[in-house]
């Protein structure tokens, strides 16, 4: 609250910060109304947000659906790990944002390019954390399951995945954050809709109020998605909580 009051004071009555540099609360409100009701950068605010969210969720699920199984496979079989690791080591240090020009070259600035970039961003953390999680499973658990002749399918479903689940969730959280950051960047570089597109157009129009609205959207949805995943984690891993409470 104090911060909001300070913001108001510094921008309007005192004129400490020029409105051309940083927007006053009123500028932001005007920009928000414009984006929400009359539209900005090819669409209404909710359309941009839905568009970005759809891409991020789709890209994230594709990455998780490929990354987690690959991590499980690499964790379970040393051979698979040795086979795949060199390629992985080669690709891993390239930051996701560095894939943007290549995907634009390959697929243009449409949805497919965004999803590929998100996949590159979100895939790596999923694989690494799943792999680490599987490796951290106590070997006596694995040996016990083996000795009892657990079928392979049930071994994965009932032993390996639950035991590695906390690490898998850590990976998913990192993946989700990377997905969002990367999508915003990809939309800033080239897009027709989306939150990043709002930022890009606002920058070109030198419209500080709208820049603020765009950044607030980026922050709010980044936060909301992280919270949502944390809630999923709590629901699907009740045993972790109890152990946390007692430890």
């Amino acid at each position: 609250m104090a911060l909001a009051a300070l913001w108001y004071l510094a921008t309007i009555p005192l004129g400490l910060i020029s409105p051309g540099r940083f927007p006053s609360p009123i500028d932001v409100w005007v920009a928000f109304r414009q984006a929400a009701f009359t539209g900005y950068a090819n669409g209404l605010l909710y359309q941009h947000i839905l568009y970005s969210l759809r891409l991020v969720i789709f890209g994230f699920f594709v990455a998780a659906a490929t990354g987690v199984p690959l991590g499980l496979l690499m964790g379970w079989s040393r051979r698979a790990e040795a086979l795949i690791n060199p390629v992985f080591l080669f690709i891993r240090p390239i930051p996701p944002l560095a894939w943007i020009p290549l995907t634009i070259l390959w697929l243009g600035i449409g949805d497919a390019a965004k999803i590929v970039v998100i996949w590159f961003a979100a895939f790596v953390p999923s694989v690494i954390n799943t792999l680490t999680g599987v490796r951290a499973v106590e070997s006596y658990v694995i040996e016990a399951a083996r000795m009892l002749g657990t079928p392979r399918y049930r071994f994965f479903k009932e032993v390996l995945i639950p035991a590695a689940a906390p690490a898998i969730f850590t990976g998913l959280r990192l993946s989700l954050q990377a997905s969002w950051t990367t999508l915003v960047a990809a939309e800033l570089v080239g897009a027709l809709y989306g939150v990043g597109r709002i930022l890009n157009v606002a920058q070109q129009d030198i419209y500080p109020g709208m820049i603020f609205v765009g950044m607030a959207c980026v922050a709010a949805f980044g936060w909301a998605m992280t919270r949502l995943l944390a809630a999923c984690e709590m629901r699907s891993l009740p045993w972790i909580q109890t152990s946390r409470v007692y430890s």
């Binding site: 079989s77 944002l97 800033l188 980026v218 709010a220």
Partner: protein, 263 residues
Amino acid sequence: MTGGSPYRLTRAETLAYSATGTLLFLGAWTLLSLSGVIPRQFLPPPYEVAARFIQLLSTPFAGATLLQHLASSVMRFAYGFLLGAAVGIPLGLLMGWFRILDEIVSPIFDALRFIAPIAWVAFAALWFGTGIGGPLLIIFAGAFPPCLISTYRGARFVSRPLIEAAQMLGTSDLQIIFEILLPASIASIVAGLRVAAGLAWQSLIGAELIVASTGVGFMMVQAQLNISTPTVMSAMVAIGLVGALIDVGLRRIEAAVRRRGFV
């Protein structure tokens, strides 16, 4: 369970599998490109990328050679990263010691933390232009939060008896911060620096894609506009190499700090 041995492979086996993996990858890449399934212009074979990489070391593209572009990127990175550390570490220590500061800064910080560094690009361009200042803010936005968080955590988890003993002996606030909190949280700080460096390098590339007229990121955008896939891929390799080098350097420092036994 066949094939799925959790037991270690011998070194020779690992080497054989790794070599097979690499060859399969390069082979599939070459095949895809030469067979024309994907037009060669968009997926050049690996050796073409390698040749282009070597050529770019001496031939300028978009106003400078690859090395010159890399040099200006690394300079920007260094400034932004050092600035992030120079603000983040002291602030983290102070927040770890003075409760009032913690109460004031934490809410602001929590609100800003969820803004992706790259989203600062619009304000960065507006406030500081597209030369050194604009990209610097974005790199700073990437490097600052991990520096602050890891220092703060390190400082908060210093054992109470240690601090209480110092207080009882009449140590001043400043002395406690520099002679107890700082050395005790050094491991956490260095770990934070590594995270910060990774984020800063990545944010820098993003910043250069959008607002810059030098640097590897800028070079990639130019290559993309010229539909020169080998150049884009060479730049990606260079970015990956430098990123890996930075990480290896900081890992070494981390290991050295651990060995000196500050913890």
